[in-house]
Symmetry: C2
Subunit: 140 residues, 2 copies
């Protein structure tokens, strides 16, 4: 799926909660750990460049498993929940492909995968705050 490749220099980090458990599911590995594996396999299979899948102990979204966060230099960070531990892997990567094509990480609402529209938990502005939205001096 070449359309999901991340342009060089636009590296994206995908944090995945490995501790998430779906309701009533006591099996091991946990749903979150299964999502980490599914994402890493999908990235490898499709030879997608520029996405680092990072397993995280907890994203503090315990009521909406499975959960991920997407971050990138100069872009908004997004947190998503209510994700299927296996089936959502390709959807997540497709959504991140769109994210990486934007300058600020904001994908138009209608273009976002349904799982991202329904599952959004929070978004956080780029850090440090960009100054581009301020009126530049005449000399700039």
């Amino acid at each position: 799926m070449p359309d999901e490749d991340i342009p060089a220099g636009n590296a994206v980090v995908l944090y995945v909660c490995a501790t998430c458990r779906t309701a009533g599911d006591t099996s091991e590995p946990r749903a979150g750990a299964r999502l980490v594996s599914a994402l890493r396999e999908a990235v490898t299979e499709a030879a997608i460049e520029g996405i680092a899948v990072e397993s995280v102990d907890c994203l503090s979204v315990c009521k909406r498993p499975c959960t991920v966060a997407v971050a990138s230099e100069g872009r908004w960070t997004y947190v998503y929940g209510d994700l299927d531990p296996v089936e959502s892997a390709r959807t997540i990567l497709a959504g991140i492909g769109l994210y990486a094509e934007t300058p600020d990480g904001i994908v138009p609402w209608k273009a976002r995968p349904e799982a991202f529209r329904k599952g959004v938990v929070a978004r956080i502005p780029p850090f440090p705050p960009p100054r581009a939205d301020r009126i530049p001096d005449a000399a700039e």
Copy 2:
């Protein structure tokens, strides 16, 4: 309140959703905008250094007003909701004071203000991911 001063070089950005409305409240300015004002006033009154209060259009936590996000270089980012538009200002600043005193942004659970314990929406690891948790080479 000198204990809430942020050590030099440890600047914290406090993103505040100015669009948040509490349930059934149609008054203007909105609850979120009132929280922005309350926080800025509290920072000025107490002459707290090292906190930048940034008004944001939306943090996508619309079901849990008011909402804020706390970010800092090399530290975890935290998102909090269910905050009172005025009364919570001092609590938020006290919590950020504790946050700024840590190397990674993780304040022990029991030390956190109750509003932060109950209101946590999500937390996101430092970006880019720190490498300090990996085993260094013998030469390092």
